[in-house]
């Protein structure tokens, strides 16, 4: 052990790694002791509220702040952007126009209400499902595409029109197919809906900016502030102990964070600027919509041989959609053509949402596979299994097959399966099963850990990472404690400050891998140093020493207590800083996971209500550090999947473009009673464990949408094409199907 070849102890020798450990800060979070950015109040602070644009597309011609400045306790009015003579074009409902700083929240709100703004209205378009109208209005943008054909099909000749040749080949393949499915599917835009809105509380200390920021990027938002404020990153300290949800939307200072810093500079006072709830939903972050038209052709076994799709949707006014590279999803037939078109709508641009593109791509594509099963009057599970022939490696296909079989057992697939629409009807209720499969990368991010071991045995670590909900503190402590053979509470973990060594943003399922890398490396490096002294004292070889149960020594032989060992260092603490750089080869972390999800639903045909009865997630993730928080990640992800499948949608008024359901009383979310039974199974054969830690944050949120949509289709015998499957959509579809 005394040589620093970074590796994990084998399964049977792990004392802490892989065990169930409650979050070290769980009680603090549950009891309100933990202070989130929103909880931070600074002496003498000003509260800022902002005016957000009530129109989706307009030009702000002028802002008159004179009346706002007359409101008692209003101190300052700040224009977010200067208004040029021709006016300032606004492209999304909710865009912040001006901010009012006041002594109290009420005064700031009154100040906002007293701002007088003149608007020039511009044309509005928000119908992201309507490709045809978008094209007519020149609201579309090409978003990529391409064709991949088996070599045996040749290439277009010199005289061929490429498009015509492709059309002909695709049509030929479809004509040759034993089964053809043509379908249209969709997923609405949703918002991140962070429980803690975006925002910051900050102050200037001389020329240095000290920021309390609700962020998933503690180490690297300083440069965003610095760039916008024309200072350097060393003059910005960012601090965040706890984040009330980010989901991909909290990587930046955002323009309101910059505004807060400017207001603070101007007024010489600390400033607290958090978005209101409706602003949070309008501009805090949203996930792009996607709609697809698919034709697929399968052989007589139901293995897809040709895929031809065009999808579109909106990422807001920047006019993109679900990434074309994710379609077709997981199953990649040898012949496919794909095309994507972005639609420019008057909405806030989307940002990363947990597993960017994948949940939509999965739901858009794997519903078509389920429709293939329905058309063939086949068992969907069999069709999903057979199409593993179209997975890029045999190993991965085998892994999915194992997972599908485990999932099937857990949900009682064979017991509950019936052909689409042919289940037993109890009163007005029918039940159904559905499934989906997914993939994700999860490469560890770069991370550094500074470790201090004191001569009295105290251990503390410093790392500029954050806890996005992952249980980061607990993971760091577990890794250190395992390495030193100490109980978890014997190590003090410090995270959440940009003054600590750099650690990457929590995005893309990279955090547990990152901190496991840096903390294990630092601990192993420190142990090498400690072991030198212990070896000398015990007169044994340093590389024969192990740390276990609070002692360092030869297994079964001579040893020193941890404290005695640390005492050998003299009066100076041992300080070690160790790094991991993203992408470096390592035994500690890996990349690339897969998983499957299955859903069993009940649908009331009279009311269109869908009730989740049970959901099963089978997931591989390499080596598990904390079984309990890993499980929590999956439970949380399943609930989010249920949410976007049955409840969540951004609703735009089609005439005015307004985001009408931007408050939580209108933006529907599931409650506990809507969630049903959730079953989580870690698929962790040794072949997976030895790949090291792989991120888990995103993958389990991906295939739930396809699984639920497919289950509803299996229950009712009709495809409700667009998520979320609201009672209205279910009833409208059933009515259309009846003719």
């Amino acid at each position: 052990m005394a040589e620093a070849t970074y590796s994990w102890p084998p399964r049977d020798k792990s004392e802490i790694i892989g065990k169930r450990v409650s979050r070290l800060d769980g009680m603090d979070k549950a009891t309100g002791v933990a202070k989130y950015t929103y909880d931070v109040n600074l002496d003498n602070q000003l509260i800022v509220r902002a005016l957000d644009c009530p129109h989706a597309h307009c030009r702000v011609k002028s802002v008159d702040a004179s009346k706002a400045m007359q409101v008692d306790d209003v101190v300052h009015v700040h224009l977010i952007k200067p208004i040029p003579e021709e006016g300032l074009e606004i492209r999304a409902h909710g865009t912040l126009i001006a901010a009012v700083a006041a002594e109290t929240e009420a005064a700031a709100a009154e100040g906002v209400a007293a701002l007088e703004v003149s608007y020039e209205m511009l044309d509005v378009f928000v119908n992201d499902a309507d490709l045809e109208t978008a094209a007519k209005l020149k609201r579309t943008k090409p978003a990529g595409g391409g064709i991949q054909l088996d070599e045996s099909l040749g290439e277009p000749g010199d005289d061929d029109d490429e498009q015509e040749w492709e059309d002909k080949i695709i049509q030929q393949l479809l004509d040759q197919a034993a089964h053809v499915v043509e379908g249209e599917y969709g997923v609405d835009a949703i918002t991140h809906c962070c429980l803690e809105p975006h925002g910051a509380t900050l102050r200037w200390n001389g020329d240095k900016l000290e920021v309390e920021l609700s962020t998933q990027n503690v180490s690297r938002t300083d440069d965003g502030f610095a760039g916008a404020l024309e200072i350097t990153a060393d003059d910005v300290d960012v601090h965040c102990d706890y984040v009330g949800g980010g989901f991909g939307s909290k990587f930046q200072p955002n323009y309101w964070g910059i505004a807060a810093a400017k207001i603070s500079k101007k007024t010489g006072r600390p400033v607290k600027f958090m978005l209101t709830r409706d602003q949070e939903l309008k501009i805090g972050g949203n996930r792009p919509s996607g709609f697809i038209k698919v034709r697929l052709g399968a052989d007589s076994d139901g293995v897809v041989q040709v895929w031809d799709s065009h999808h579109w949707g909106t990422s807001g006014f920047n006019g993109s959609t679900v990434s074309v590279g994710t379609v077709p999803y997981v199953y990649v037939p040898k012949n496919y053509r794909r095309k994507a078109t972005g639609i420019i709508t008057d909405n806030e641009p989307s940002v990363a949402w947990r597993a960017p593109n994948h949940p939509q791509a999965c739901a858009l594509c794997q519903t078509a596979y389920d429709d293939l099963a329905a058309k063939m009057q086949a068992d969907s599970l069999d069709i999903f299994l057979r199409n593993l022939a179209n997975i890029d490696t045999a190993e991965k296909a085998d892994l999915y097959a194992q997972q599908l079989r485990i999932g099937a057992d857990l949900i009682g697939w064979r017991e509950h399966w019936h052909l689409h629409g042919q289940g037993t009807r109890r009163g007005s209720v029918v039940e159904g099963l559905g499934l989906g499969i997914h993939k994700w990368g999860g490469t560890a991010n770069s991370s550094s850990c500074q470790l201090k071991i004191h001569p009295d045995g105290g251990v503390e670590s410093y790392c500029g990472t954050q806890d996005l909900g992952t249980g980061t503190r607990t993971v760091c402590a577990m890794v250190l404690a395992e390495t030193f053979g100490l109980p978890i509470d014997a190590v003090k973990v410090n995270i959440g400050s940009s003054t600590f060594p750099f650690s990457g943003a929590s995005g893309g399922s990279t955090t547990v891998g990152a901190v496991a890398e840096s903390h294990r490396r630092a601990a192993q490096d420190a142990f090498v140093e400690l072991a030198k002294g212990v070896a000398q004292k015990l007169n044994v070889a340093a590389d024969s020493l192990e740390a276990s149960a609070g002692r360092i020594g030869i297994p079964g032989g001579k040893s020193l207590s941890w404290k005695e060992a640390c005492g050998l260092m003299g009066i100076r603490p041992l300080e070690v800083t160790s790094n991991y750089k993203r992408g470096d080869e390592s035994l500690l972390s890996g990349s690339g996971v897969g998983g499957i999800q299955m859903a069993r639903v009940a649908v009331d045909l009279d009311t269109g209500q869908v009730q989740l009865k049970k959901m099963v997630a089978v997931q591989d993730m390499g080596l598990v550090i904390n079984r309990k928080t890993a499980e929590s990640q999956i439970y949380g992800a399943l609930i989010m999947a249920i949410s976007y499948s049955l409840f969540e949608q951004r609703i735009n008024d089609q005439k005015t473009g307004a985001f009408v359901n931007s408050e939580l009383d209108h933006y529907r979310l599931p409650r506990l009673g809507d969630v049903g039974e959730l079953v989580v199974h870690f698929h962790e054969p040794e072949s997976e464990r030895k790949r090291g830690v792989i991120g888990l944050g995103e993958p389990p949120v991906i295939s739930g949408g396809a699984a639920i949509s497919n289950a509803v289709c299996n229950a009712t015998g009709v495809r409700v094409p667009v998520l979320p499957l609201t009672p209205k959509r279910v009833l409208d579809t059933l009515r259309t199907a009846k003719g």
Binding site: P54, E105, A106, A107, A109, E110, A113, D278, R426, G427, S428, V429, A602, D604, D606, T607, G608, Q609, Q611, L612, K613, L646, F647, I651, N652, D653, Q654, K655, T656, A658, V660, N661, S662, E663, D665, H666, R668, L669, P670, R671, L672, G673, D674, G676, T726, P727, K728, L731, D732, R735
Partner: protein, 338 residues
């Protein structure tokens, strides 16, 4: 939220003195479940908030000499539900149970629930209760709006979930004020109206009047029930709802009152549906017929035709529930009718 003066009177009379005859100047705070949100959004911007939570006379549930039940307006929903004298009103308790938010049940009051403002998003987003004389709703997103009583400018749906059940049972209300000696007892349904002009409210209560009590009639052996079609288990407004109270003899309906919720700017009394039941044996077929009759004059907007079916189903299921002919579904409570 705009700054305001806060008053917490201890008596009804003190409360009346604090209320302004000018609409919008004062607001009555009971549980605050609705008012606080409206004030935060500055849809309501009263100069004075009159907290009636400390007025003892409106915090009790008591029987009167005719065995009617006087329920104080400031009684919390869970207090009503837990009170031994309320078990004879299953329809009301079913609705409170369906509100299914411990916070709303324990903070919300009977009076506040009955007088809560519509959840129409145009209203809540500051476009006015009628939102451009109804045009914004007609041309906009009306998936949750009215399908009955919507030919005037009001297109929102009455928000109260308790009102249909209480009206079906024949509830009356005591209204105090405006003068200190003035009081009246009126049918609950007369509290609701469909505003014709912006600035009018969906309640007939004047801003200087106080709803003090709901008076539920004595037990007359009615079969009653409510049924709400909900999107999920949360406290969100139901998509459609109905309540029924029936006098039944030998399995045959003698009298019935059917009231729909979430379908019109007022709680929607459906006499045609009641007539369809009268003289008929209780059965799935008659319940279904009553549902169809209740919605026979429905006027769905561009996006809410589905609500017609939901309201029909709500009526049918409320009748069958009152008759004890429903079976709750399996574990997760999907109602299934056998």
């Amino acid at each position: 939220m705009k700054n305001f003066e806060y008053a917490a009177p201890l008596t009804e009379l003190d409360a009346l003195e604090l209320l302004s005859p000018e609409a919008g100047q004062t607001a009555v705070l009971a549980g605050g479940a609705d008012l606080v949100g409206l004030m935060k959004r500055m849809v309501e911007t009263p100069e004075r908030v009159v907290d009636i939570g400390k007025i003892e006379s409106i915090r009790n549930i008591e029987r009167d000499s005719q065995n009617g039940l006087w329920v104080g307006a400031a009684v919390h929903l869970d207090e009503f539900q837990d009170h031994p004298l309320t078990v004879i009103y299953p329809a009301i308790n079913q609705v409170i149970q369906g509100i299914s938010s411990i916070q709303l049940q324990s903070q919300g009051t009977i009076g506040g629930e009955l007088l809560q403002r519509p959840s129409c998003w145009y209203y809540r987003n500051g476009q006015g209760l009628l939102a451009d004389e109804g045009q914004m709703v007609v041309e906009g997103d009306n998936r949750f709006h009215a399908i009955l009583g919507n030919r005037g400018p009001a297109k929102f749906v009455s928000a109260s979930r308790l009102a249909p059940a209480m009206i079906s049972l024949g509830a009356r209300v005591r209204v105090a004020g405006p003068g200190k000696d003035e009081e009246q007892i009126v049918d609950l349904e007369s509290l609701y109206c469909s505003p014709q002009k912006e600035g009018q409210r969906e309640h007939t209560l004047r801003s200087d009047q106080l709803l003090t009590h709901v008076i539920l009639p004595a037990d007359r052996g009615l079969l009653s029930a409510a049924y709400e079609v909900r999107h999920g288990e949360g406290p969100d407004p139901p998509l459609a709802a109905a309540a029924v109270a029936m006098e039944v003899a030998n399995g045959v309906v003698q009298q019935a009152k059917i009231v729909l919720g979430q379908v019109a700017p007022i709680p929607w009394i459906a006499p045609a549906a009641a007539r369809a039941l009268r003289g008929k044996p209780l059965s799935e077929a008659t319940a279904q017929q009553a549902g169809l009759e209740a919605l026979s004059r429905a006027n769905p907007l561009s996006q809410n035709e589905y609500k017609v079916q939901l309201a029909e189903v709500a009526v049918r299921r409320a009748i069958l529930r009152a008759a004890g002919m429903t079976r709750e579904g399996s574990k997760h409570g999907l109602p299934s009718l056998i």
